[in-house]
């Protein structure tokens, strides 16, 4: 255990790709926490998906020790956070466990939408903020301009911003000194008081079971203690207490101000609610911590096994994954065409893709993902209000009085030259402009937009119309009534429920056209021609015809070719299994989600 005065806890926050994880690498390396031969780039991004996509998805805690210029050795607990907007909840939660933030800003890019969002969160969490200008090794770095921007746009003093290159290591010693001298030690903490610890996060480890990440406020956490979760009421015997360096290392005890983990044979993730307060079963603390605002899933979709025999495997996999990710929700669902599956809730489309990828990859299950949807409020004529998570469940329109849909406030930062494109995009998506300001040659526009127009592909479209120069952040702001209808897709004259979506009446035709055109590309040709239609309330609003297959035959097939040919056909047959049969038509699994991505 370390004295409070020699502890510093901080999160590293930034817009996506500004270099948080690389900075964490350098801090870990310079303090000798990890042997040189075990070092690799973005060491903390350990998941396959994180490494492949080059982004952080899960926040990670590491304890490092730093002998400062004042002669004392400090214990630093850093939390590397994700930058993508879908994972903003990870950031806000992490911030609750620490007292300061390193605000990393890419000196070649400047302040972006998540930079702003993170600053607001840090201020709300009462953090001391150290601005860090990164990537100064690059010729395009413009330190003065970016420092000015930080002052103008964010309104924090940037005179003492630390200038670094997380890649080459320039300035890293200054970051360490700044952490020690400019960030406060943990505010309070009484080692002799009853245990009071914040449940920051939990993960599932195949060997250890549920691992709980904790921040100790008061008291001491030790192996063998019997603890109680104040909100859920569960009691457990602590098996192991430790810290991440970043490998798990057991310690005897964790005291006030420290961050580490515990294991206690906890079986269910519901028993580890993030934000809960952990105390001892006997002589526990009197008052609980305020807790976190719960994360709300905003995008829902159905996940079904391609092979219906794999339903139980899917259930098992989803339960295991949910242990690792409290922000993802699921419940069983049945579909006429797809059989048994789950309706799952996510924080955004990237979150959805990540979970789906992990289910397929880590658990080897091929999945069909149905069209994603947001949650609508359906006001029935009889006064009942229903939450609609799945357009397929839309009640008969004659019984519906009106429908409300979720809206967001979107903040977009964009260089002047692309402003027109961004305004057009927002307008096309039924946006209402709330604000527009300039900082230098960048504009900041704020729009009120329907969430369902944003969820699927807004971010991709924004990136493409601005050549990657715009950044985007959003918050939910509530529900509003609009003229919404359910649109069905008919393939070969049969409705495919998994492709039903809710659309604004005025855009049904455009959306429908885009979807049937997309489906025409996504569905492979069959031996017969296939009409693909979009319909609203029985009226066809768009139609395409997928022509019949024209040629698929092997030119030469003699004695020696029989074996090879048989193998090839077997492989193709296995490929067919990745499709789902709707009437006579086979639809590939990716079609359900890709059909919604518009090229505008």
């Amino acid at each position: 255990m370390t004295e409070l005065a020699y502890i510093r806890n901080f999160s590293i926050v930034a817009h996506i790709d500004h270099g948080k994880s690389t900075l964490a690498d350098r801090l870990i390396q310079l303090t000798g926490t990890v042997a040189e031969r075990d070092m690799k780039e973005q060491l903390l991004d350990a998941m396959d998906i994180e490494r492949e996509r080059g982004i952080t998805i899960k926040a990670n805690t590491v304890r490092i020790e730093y002998p400062a210029k004042d002669g004392h050795t400090y214990v630093l607990n850093l939390i590397d956070t994700p930058g993508h907007v879908d994972f903003a909840y990870e950031v806000s939660r992490s911030m609750r466990a620490v007292e300061g933030s390193l605000l990393v800003v890419d000196a070649t890019q400047g302040v972006e939408a998540q930079t702003l969002a993170n600053v607001y969160q840090a201020i709300e969490a009462n953090h001391e903020i150290i601005p860090v200008l990164n990537k100064i090794d690059l010729p395009a770095a413009d330190v003065d301009r970016v420092a000015e921007q930080i002052e103008d746009v964010i309104g924090i003093d940037a005179t003492d911003a630390v200038q670094i290159s997380a890649k080459t290591g320039i300035g890293i010693p200054d970051v360490l000194e700044a952490i020690v001298t400019r960030l406060p030690p943990p505010h309070e903490g009484d080692r002799n008081a009853p245990l009071k610890a914040m449940l920051v996060d939990s993960k599932y480890d195949p060997y250890l079971g549920v691992v709980v990440i904790v921040r100790i406020i008061d008291g001491v956490l030790k192996k063998g203690q019997r603890i109680r979760m104040m909100k859920t009421g569960g009691t457990y015997d602590v098996d192991k207490v430790g810290v991440y360096r970043p490998a798990m290392v057991a310690v005897d005890a964790l005291g006030p101000g420290e961050i580490g983990f515990l294991t206690a044979s906890i079986k269910q993730v519901r028993d580890t609610r993030v934000g809960d307060t952990i105390t001892t079963e006997k002589n526990g603390c009197a008052t609980a911590l305020p807790g976190f605002k719960p994360s709300i899933p905003v995008v829902f979709c159905g996940l079904f096994p391609v092979d219906s025999a794999e339903f139980e495997d899917l259930r098992d996999a989803i339960e295991k994954l949910a242990l690792n990710d409290a922000s993802f929700s699921y419940e069983m669902e049945t579909s006429a065409a797809l059989g048994f599956g789950f309706r799952c809730g996510f924080l955004g489309l990237l979150h959805l893709e990540v979970i789906r990828d992990r289910l397929e990859r880590e658990y080897g299950i091929d999945l069909i993902t149905t069209a994603p949807s947001v949650v609508y409020n359906i006001f029935m004529k009889d006064g009942e209000v229903r939450e609609l998570h799945n357009p397929a469940d839309m009640p008969d329109m004659t019984l519906v009085d009106h429908i409300k849909e979720p809206r967001i406030k979107a903040t977009i930062m964009v260089p002047d030259e692309f402003l027109g494109d961004v305004l057009k995009l927002c307008q096309d998506r039924r946006g209402i402009q709330l604000d527009m300001t300039y900082a230098g040659s960048r504009a900041m526009v704020v729009y009120d937009l329907p969430l369902n127009e944003v969820v699927f592909d807004f971010y991709d479209r924004l990136k493409s119309v601005t050549k990657g120069y715009a950044s985007f952040d959003y918050q939910m702001i509530g529900y509003r009534e609009d003229n919404l209808v359910k649109m069905q897709i008919l393939v070969n004259d049969e409705p495919v429920d998994a492709l039903s979506t809710m659309v604004h009446r005025d855009r049904a035709e455009g959306r429908g056209r885009a979807m049937v055109e997309k489906l025409k590309e996504l569905i492979p040709r069959h031996m017969f021609k296939i009409p693909i239609q979009a319909a609203v309330g029985g009226r066809v609003v768009a139609r395409e015809t997928l022509s019949a297959m024209r040629k698929d035959v092997t030119a030469k097939c003699y004695g020696g070719d029989a074996t090879r040919k048989k193998k090839l056909l077997e492989k193709q047959k296995a490929g067919k299994k990745k499709m789902r049969q709707f009437g006579k038509v086979e639809i590939p699994q990716q079609a359900f989600i890709n059909a919604l991505k518009m090229d505008d």
């Binding site: 031996m527 024209r550 040629k551 030469k556 097939c557 004695g559 029989a562 056909l569 047959k573 006579k584």
Partner: protein
């Protein structure tokens, strides 16, 4: 003696000659280019293999011998003669035994045609590939159209039965281009024609070029379909209907040898990379041999056996092979025969479904692909083959 299933298809011998003068960029056959070949040594190896297979199958009537390659027209007539002498000494020949040799249409090779005839060859199949010099160059061929025509004329004077191969659906080939070329081909054809759509095979020079984004102007699916359909119509009109996906003949002039493959007969395969199917003691085996000429020669010389270990074929495998080979034929397959091979009948629901959409025809015991179905045979097979 009860008849075995393979006897419906007949019994043939395939002899692979693995050498060519140059490697064509589209070709994935087992062919090698070498400076010199010791034909005497190869003769000993082929004869030894004939003896070995003969010991297992000597009581059968042989319906066909096929010299394939590679370029068998690089073999000395003496070598071909020695092989055929040993073949005749080993198996009783059927009355109409077909002996085919694949020939490349250059003057060097046509000079040997009389020698092959005297050795017993009664049919040649010539790789003419295109009737257009610039496409011949693009296909990496060593001969011109004029040379090919001259070689073909010699072949016609030498042999009763002559077939030739063309490759179409080439880069930038329009429907009209191919109509003219095919019309010319039909005018010169004797009794048999093989017309292959160019296939980009992995592991070939074209395969690599295609993967790099090269080989522009290959036909897309719709044009390929049109080219195929037009081919069927023109050949039909010229009295040479398609009896198999890529093969056309005057009635009665079908390749006896290749019919053994498509009708699920037995065949022995001799030479590097040769495949065989042999029914022995009630079991059916797939045989193959090492691809490398040197490896095969050594195996024959040192072990007295050029084959890799044989693979027994399960009833399922046999049913699948009969189906995928047999449905290539215009005349299709016998459902009874399929069931007796595979042990399980085809799914009647699938048969009904494919008949309903016009892809197959089911009459009595016969199941065949319709002309619409033959062009998309792979899709039909993906439906019909069991899981």
């Amino acid at each position: 003696m009860t008849t075995e299933n393979w006897q419906d298809g007949g019994f043939g011998l395939y002899i692979h000659w693995p050498f060519c003068q140059a490697k064509c960029p589209y070709c994935d056959f087992n062919s090698h280019v070498v400076a010199e070949v010791d034909q005497k040594r190869w003769e000993r190896a082929y004869l030894s293999e004939i003896d070995r297979i003969g010991a297992e199958t000597g009581n059968r009537v042989l319906h066909s011998v096929f010299f394939g390659g590679g370029t068998p027209s690089l073999m000395e007539p003496a070598l071909v003669g020695a092989i055929l002498d040993r073949v005749r000494a080993t198996w009783p020949a059927s009355n109409d035994m077909e002996i085919t040799l694949e020939a490349n249409p250059t003057s060097v090779e046509s000079g040997r045609f009389a020698g092959y005839r005297d050795a017993g060859v009664n049919r040649v199949s010539m790789g003419i590939q295109a009737l257009n010099d610039s496409d011949l160059r693009r296909l990496g061929r060593l001969h011109s159209v004029a040379e090919a025509r001259a070689a073909f004329d010699i072949a016609r004077k030498t042999f009763d039965r002559v077939s030739f191969d063309l490759i179409y659906a080439r880069q930038k080939q329009s429907l009209a281009d191919w109509r003219d070329e095919l019309t010319a081909a039909l005018a010169m054809a004797a009794d048999h024609l093989s017309l292959y759509q160019l296939t980009i095979e992995p592991g070939t020079a074209f395969g690599a070029r295609f993967a790099r984004g090269g080989l522009k102007g290959l036909p897309q699916e719709d044009l390929a379909g049109d080219l195929y359909q037009m081919t069927q119509e023109l050949c039909e009109k010229a009295g040479m209907p398609g009896y198999e996906i890529s093969n056309h003949a005057r009635p009665g002039a079908e390749s006896r040898h290749n019919m053994i493959y498509w009708r699920h007969g037995d065949y022995a395969g001799i030479g590097p990379g040769a495949h065989g199917r042999l029914t022995l003691g009630g079991d059916r085996f797939a045989t193959d041999t090492p691809l490398q000429p040197g490896v095969w020669l050594n195996a024959v010389e040192q072990r007295g056996n050029g084959e890799n270990p044989r693979t027994p074929l399960s009833p399922m495998d046999q049913g699948a092979e009969y189906l995928l080979m047999g449905l290539r034929l215009r005349d299709g397959i016998s459902l009874k025969r399929h069931e007796s091979l595979s042990g399980t009948p085809l799914d009647p629901n699938k048969i009904k479904y494919l008949s309903d959409i016009g892809m197959i025809r089911h009459v009595g015991d016969t199941l065949c692909a319709t002309s619409e179905g033959r062009v998309v045979l792979n899709a039909i097979l993906r439906e019909l083959l069991p899981e």
